[in-house]
Amino acid sequence: MAVESPKITSVIVEAGEYPDLVRKYHVSGVPKTMVNGTVEILGARPEEDFVRTAMSAADAA
C-alpha cells in the first residue's frame, strides 16, 4: 500500500522488541495493524477488505 500511494507509510514492528508499543496499542495477537493509531485490523484479511478498513481511518480524521 505504501508503494501504491505517496500518502501511505508502512512500518513493520517486531512486537517482541517494543513492549511499550505493544502496551500502547493493546497488541495481544499478531499480525495486528494500527492505522493512524486509531483503527485496528486484526489478523490477515482479504486485500480489498483490508484497504477499505484502513482507509476508514482517513475518513475518520
Partner: protein, 141 residues
C-alpha cells in the same frame, strides 16, 4: 558464523536474482543499549552479499538524529527500505524469522516500484485524501 544457513542463502539469492532496480537499506543503529542492533547489522550484511542490487547504508541513530527524524525513525534497530524513491516502508526491530521474509517482500516491492495490488485496491487508494500511517505488529516466529 553466518546467520543464514547456506541453503537459506542460496534460496534468498535466487529470490533476489530478478530484482529490477536498486534498493537501499538505510540502517539506523547504535552501539550501546541495543541488543538486536549487532545481529541486525549482520543479517543485512549477509543479505547485501546475495544481490548486487542491495546496498546497506549504516547510520548512527544518536549522532544522526536529524536524518533519523527525516525518515520518521525514533528507535533502533530500524531500517528504511528505499527504492527509486522512498515509499515510506520501514522495519523496526530485528528482521529475523518470519520478519525476514517480510523484509524480502518489501525489498521486491520497492525494487519494482509496483505494489502488486488488485485494480480494485488501486482504485480505492487513488482516492485517498489524507495520510495513512500503518503500523503492522508481527513476531519473528
Amino acid at each position: 558464523m553466518p546467520i543464514l544457513s547456506p541453503t537459506d542463502a542460496a534460496r534468498v539469492r535466487e529470490m533476489l536474482a530478478t530484482l529490477p532496480g536498486p534498493v537501499r537499506l538505510v540502517f539506523f543503529t547504535q552501539t550501546l543499549n541495543c541488543e538486536t542492533c549487532e545481529p541486525t547489522k549482520q543479517i543485512l550484511g549477509e543479505l547485501a552479499e546475495l544481490s548486487g542490487q542491495i546496498t546497506v547504508e549504516e547510520r548512527n541513530f544518536l549522532l544522526e538524529g536529524d536524518l533519523a527524524a527525516g525518515y520518521g525513525i525514533d528507535r533502533v534497530p530500524a531500517i528504511a527500505v528505499v527504492g527509486a524513491q522512498d515509499y515510506g516502508v520501514r522495519f523496526l526491530g530485528i528482521p529475523s524469522g518470519y520478519e525476514f521474509m517480510s523484509l524480502l517482500d518489501a525489498i521486491q516491492l520497492v525494487s519494482a516500484g509496483d505494489s502488486g495490488l488488485s485494480e480494485g485496491s488501486r482504485a480505492m487508494l487513488a482516492s485517498l485524501q489524507s495520510p495513512l500511517a500503518l503500523q503492522v505488529f508481527v513476531t519473528p516466529t
